[in-house]
């Protein structure tokens, strides 16, 4: 088993052989991947060393101290957080070798073609069709709310392959080439003014069968891997005390004594406590993972993260008073990366509204906690054993 000492010396060797000062960014990242230091818990040959996940911190600390470039995870979050774990678990050897390196290095951006106009929370109701044609599949349909589709080289896609089966059983999971001539991406403007997400029209898109992940009809199960990782990656980052949204508010509070009121002070302290407890909850979750006792607490993180971000940024707009009446910039743009704590308070307030919708709404996550964690009985439902084509829409 690889230990911290070995990782440290491997990292130093990488730095000696490819000095960050004189090596191009991409070249350095490729060398890091090939040295197994990209994500140490991944298999050898795929950017890792089969080492315990917790030891990544050892590598990251060495690299940060040496001023090495990183792969800017904010730009490639969907690839790193959702596509990669799914590729790792369900991809063939060829698929893993082809996709993981450019994904991690950031040469290829990924997007997620899951949601549709008629299938959001009820994702398994999706209607985009994939039909077998020799060694290929031909895909027709419409996806929506697709973040980064305008930047993406590849997409993870779920589509219906058997309309006669009940909805959860007729879905198959694919890797879709976003440069296929049948893929059309149109920006969708958000309440912030910019267009992070898009609608994506798929017309006769051809996908080789080799780019299928998991069995035909088993796509719902494969998608669970993606969705679980999505919830962990939203709100799961390690932050110091007063990191994230609360840090912005606290700084404004300290720098602007003239804005303070007693009522805002109480609410500030309430939120400060909640943010600190959320930080500790994340720390505890990580300690559980390291100790090999993963708990269901992961599902708590995104719910708390969304609520807190919204409350904190909302309070900051109020605190700013006259300035809170202003907004930085409404001009429509298609951003390269998403930064929840970026820009001005007004932007943060509006962007954080998406935190309780993207990656599963807070209502749906509460259902999941109630049923899977607490074991409360499900609501009666009428869609489980009906063929997808016979469902009401």
């Amino acid at each position: 088993m690889t230990d911290a000492g070995e990782l440290r010396s491997r990292t130093r060797r990488l730095l000696a052989e490819h000095p960050p000062a004189t090596t191009g960014r991409t070249d350095f990242l490729k060398a890091r991947f090939d040295a197994g230091l990209a994500w140490v818990h991944y298999p050898a040959g795929l950017g890792g060393l089969d080492a315990p996940r917790a030891l990544q911190a050892v590598v990251d600390a060495e690299l940060a101290a040496a001023g090495a470039p990183d792969n800017d995870p904010r730009r490639i979050g969907i690839g790193l957080g959702m596509a990669a774990p799914t590729l790792l678990q369900y991809g063939s050897e060829e698929v893993k070798e082809r996709f993981l390196r450019p994904l991690w290095v950031g040469e290829e951006v990924w997007c997620q073609l899951f949601s549709e106009p008629g299938a959001g929370s009820d994702l398994a109701a999706l209607g985009t069709r994939a039909v077998r044609d020799g060694g290929d599949w031909v895909v027709d349909g419409q996806k929506v709310w697709t973040s980064s589709a305008h930047l993406a080289r590849w997409a993870i896609l779920i589509a219906r392959t058997d309309p006669d089966a009940p909805k959860h059983r007729g879905i198959t999971y694919f890797v879709c080439d976003m440069t296929d001539p049948g893929v059309e991406v149109r920006p969708l403007r958000q309440i912030t003014g910019e267009a992070e997400f898009n609608e994506v029209f798929l017309t006769g898109v051809r996908i080789p069968d080799a780019h299928r992940l998991g069995e035909v009809g088993d796509g719902w199960r494969v998608a669970q891997t993606t969705l679980m990782n999505e919830r962990v990656s939203i709100g799961g980052a390690r932050i110091p005390r007063e990191g994230g949204m609360i840090g912005k508010l606290a700084t404004t509070w300290r720098e602007r004594p003239e804005l303070r009121t007693h009522e805002l002070h109480r609410r500030l302290l309430d939120l400060w406590v909640d943010a600190e407890v959320a930080r500790l909850t994340g720390e505890r979750l990580r300690q559980q993972l390291v100790a090999g006792q993963p708990g269901p607490e992961g599902s708590a993180m995104k719910l708390g993260f969304a609520r807190l971000n919204q409350a904190i940024s909302g309070l900051e707009v109020e605190l700013l008073g006259d300035e809170g009446l202003l907004y930085g910039e409404w001009e429509m743009s298609r951003p390269e990366l998403v930064d929840f704590t970026g820009r001005d308070a007004g932007y943060r307030y509006l962007r954080s509204k998406g935190n309780s919708i993207e990656g599963g709404t807070s209502e749906v996550l509460l259902n999941i906690v109630a049923e899977r964690v607490l074991g409360l009985p499900p609501e009666p439902r009428n869609d489980k054993d009906v063929a997808w084509k016979d469902l009401s829409r």
């Binding site: 390690r238 110091p240 007063e242 606290a250 509070w253 300290r254 004594p257 303070r260 009121t261 007693h262 002070h265 109480r266 500030l268 302290l269 309430d270 400060w272 406590v273 909640d274 600190e276 407890v277 959320a278 500790l280 909850t281 720390e283 505890r284 300690q287 559980q288 100790a291 006792q293 607490e297 708590a300 719910l303 708390g304 209502e363 509460l366 259902n367 906690v369 109630a370 049923e371 964690v373 607490l374 074991g375 409360l376 009985p377 499900p378 609501e379 009666p380």
Partner: protein
Amino acid sequence: MTAQGDLLYSETEDDLRAAVRALLADRAGHQTLLDRIETADPYVPGLWKSLAGDIGAAGLLVPEELGGQGASHREAAVVLEELGRAVTPLPYLTSAVVATETLLGLAGRGGPATELLAGIASGHTVAVLAVPLSTAPDAEPFPSGTPDGEPSPPAVTGAGPLPAATVTGVADAVAADVLLVPRADGLYAVPAGEATVEPQTPLDLTRPLARVTPEPGSGTRLAEGEAARAAVRRGLLAGAGLLASEQLGLAAWCLEETVRYTRERHQFNRPVGSFQALKHRMAQLWLDLVGARAAARAAADALATGAPDAPLTVAVAQAYCSKVAVRAAEECVQLHGGIGMTWEHPAHLALKRAKSDQIALGSTGRHQDAIAALTNLPAPE
């Protein structure tokens, strides 16, 4: 980023929990408590001896060379989680935590504090700090006054002027052998026989409160000046930090009980626990509990390791866990419907404990004020 203390439970802590839980289930079930809480003596006979002596829980904070177990706040926190779960009347928080920690602040000096600790650690002596249960760690419980040690002017409460040196709302004073009494000229150990202890009627019948009047000139002085003040602050800080674990245990019981009941109770031809309005309330409670567990563990660990930010971590845990325990107990009553409103059902024991705990060792607002000061987030001028 500074390293985060250990927020998990060790195997030893799990074993201790199992032992305490088994003892309480066997000897202090809800029916036993309901039968006793309205009598003059709510403490279950012999239970203290079993917990303190046989399991050794009373001496967890006391080093082995002073007659204790040489464990830490982390283990004591686990005991308190169980006592909170079962809402057990026992002088654990008061004697084994607050008084013990206060005396530990003086033990380096040898003498009577050290002797007292050995007695407390073995469970033979119950000692209680004679301050109101509501006293926050940053409060000033020492009267300013005359050199003879009696306060002046006399302490006054809503009930009108009282005889000199009376303290009201002292938790577990009725069980105490020794009272630790803050006086103007220092901290005194007063044998219970040399004080008048008059029981009051508490909201939480599982934590008896009393009015305590030590005889003038009674007792032995343990320390004076800043040494005495620092020791009492230390005792109250440990108490507030570990109270969070009691609140966590109580909230966990409330949620488990509510989930169990709403899964079984049928109305409208389905379990009431299948209604989404209730599921979301219970799921939200679970989220709060996950946070409370992290906060309470952080406080226990910070106290155990003497972390420099322990006062902040304790204030965060108190501000958070108080609120969670009250909400859990209130939801427990509401989601049980009519039965939750009965004396027979144990939900009210949890509710009364949670509501009293919210005031104990500093209110939420008081802890928030401490946070504001410690983090440089000041109130308006």
